[in-house]
Symmetry: C3
Subunit: 242 residues, 3 copies
């Protein structure tokens, strides 16, 4: 299975052209849209989302990850092998948290280049063909890299920010719920928010946080929209009170 994690959107041409390449070069392999609206041009926030959601897929999955504001510049192109999954994408920190949480990982710089490489769409021209080859069991030309070259050691283990707002207005943080004290209170927009098992445990209109289905602490309002009620958007800062 090939999984797409991008900020490209589905309706315009970018995801479609990537899928055309994937279907042509890895026929019969299912292609899944995981996120087409990851934090736009924001590899740091995206890194926490990717680490939480990528780990849900079984070993053998190839994840094509393109949040790539530096496309056309000098950043490397990478393959990260982590716990049996293969992540393909730019060297801009996007894989930092996957790397940090993996039991076993190796990183490669992609040296293979297509005959035609546009300046602005490496997703289609470079990352998709590489992902297709990996899904077929081939190894495109790549060199083992020293991990230090790609690390973002100064990034935190968990991110006390909103990394995604879903269509219900729920605001996902970059915090793993299992790493928070059971009685942790989150502070967002000046409001103290207590934990609940699920939003239906809380009175209508009240903000709450809970462990979402991929392990992140998520802020919601029962029968309401947390984004509107609390003024939250991707990038909003959160505090943790004991």
């Amino acid at each position: 299975m090939i999984v797409l994690f991008t900020d490209f959107g589905l309706e315009g041409p970018y995801t479609g052209q990537m899928k055309a390449v994937l279907h042509r070069e890895a026929p019969g392999v299912p292609v899944i849209d995981l996120f087409a609206d990851a934090p736009r041009q924001n590899p740091r926030a995206s890194a926490y989302l990717l680490a939480a959601y990528g780990a849900w897929f079984p070993a053998g999955t190839v994840l094509v990850c393109v949040i790539d504001p530096g496309v056309g510049g000098a950043r490397r192109a990478l393959i990260l092998e982590a716990d049996g999954r293969l992540y393909v994408g730019p060297d801009n920190g996007l894989f930092e948290l996957v790397w940090r949480r993996a039991a076993a990982a190796r990183v490669f710089e992609i040296t293979w280049r297509p005959e035609q490489l546009s300046a602005s769409f490496h997703g289609r021209d470079l990352f998709a063909p590489v992902a297709a080859r990996l899904a077929r069991g081939e190894r495109p030309a790549a060199e083992l890299l020293s991990p230090e070259l790609i690390r973002r050691a100064d990034w935190p283990d968990d991110l006390a920010e909103i990394v995604y707002v879903d269509r219900y207005g729920n605001a996902l943080t970059g915090l793993r719920a299992a790493r928070l004290p059971a009685d942790a209170v989150l502070i967002a927009a000046g409001r103290r928010i207590a934990r609940a098992r699920t939003f239906s445990d809380t009175p209508p209109g009240t903000p709450l946080w809970y462990e979402n289905s991929n392990g992140l602490a998520e802020i919601a309002v029962n029968l309401g929209r947390a984004d509107e009620a609390l003024g939250l958007e991707t990038g909003s800062k959160i505090e943790i009170a004991a």
Copy 2:
């Protein structure tokens, strides 16, 4: 064929994770997005949309239907077998109109449970695996239910409300056009709206209603947007004048 009818959106993680489960557990079965933007958290309006659009698919189709504001609470999980189609989803009225319009129907409570069931995402953890089993011709553990237990007998046969606004600004009602008098006038936002065969039969800028390609009465403005011209949105009430 497996058909998705949800309020999840396509770009975020929910539809993608459901498709990952479906492709893994029912390989080779096509998965179709029918609606990913059904009326949000609104099983009643969604029920009229589902009845109109689900019936377009042939017998043998499995429809996974997740408008599920009560997820994590005590509501049942259902399989509705209606005229040879299989509908999988929560017990919150979503299947009421499918049931009511079916020539033959039976309903089952799903008793099968996955090893891991999140509190907030039964679409991925429960409904998708059940749908995959049904698409493979298997029967997950389920018990025949007395239909009275799931009915919403007080809901009308047709809903005089807007149940969907499409990207052209056309406003779909929950009314079947074939049940309306040929010369019925709809009243929306205080405006009297006459019937036309299609919008190109009407002067530019004029509101009209017509029978859409799935049998619902739909309000449009030729070369304009009915939602903006008339102030319509999902939930807006309509009246029928003879």
Copy 3:
């Protein structure tokens, strides 16, 4: 491969129903969403987008193209065979630029009709079944047309307008970059915009234009949004200064 080029959106019922028809009538043929948000109800702007993006696909591709404000009226239904690709859609100018740029082309009027043809959804009822037949290697009933009957000879070879704004706020023009002088300056919203190889070559906040990955001149702002910075939207006029 079957490629969809429409203004239908992905989340509502239209694209899903088309794909259901395509999967049923051409099982196993991959279906790719190229654009689901082509310029709405605007065949002229869409024609320049289609010519630029359709040509990226290899010979043998079937493209179903439905920007169709005249559906239900008297416009013809067409198959355009151009450089080995097959384009299926309405006769409203949408294929004008594909025709004009093709080395070899023929156009056919589709005379085949389905048993049931709705007044408002020929994409599902007529164009998708025809595309499926073509993808299977069959020829639905159609008659060779004199090209003069479908031409829009008064349309320009390149369109000095914005034809698409992507989710990064980049504004695509209908101008082929290769036809512009190397030092061409574009004028949009009164601002003079110089060419760059890619946006990372330009200071943050500065507008620039470049040849995008499908050959169109595209206006962007490095680390910003050109649509907001310059007030651009689909239909905005552009001028070319030497």
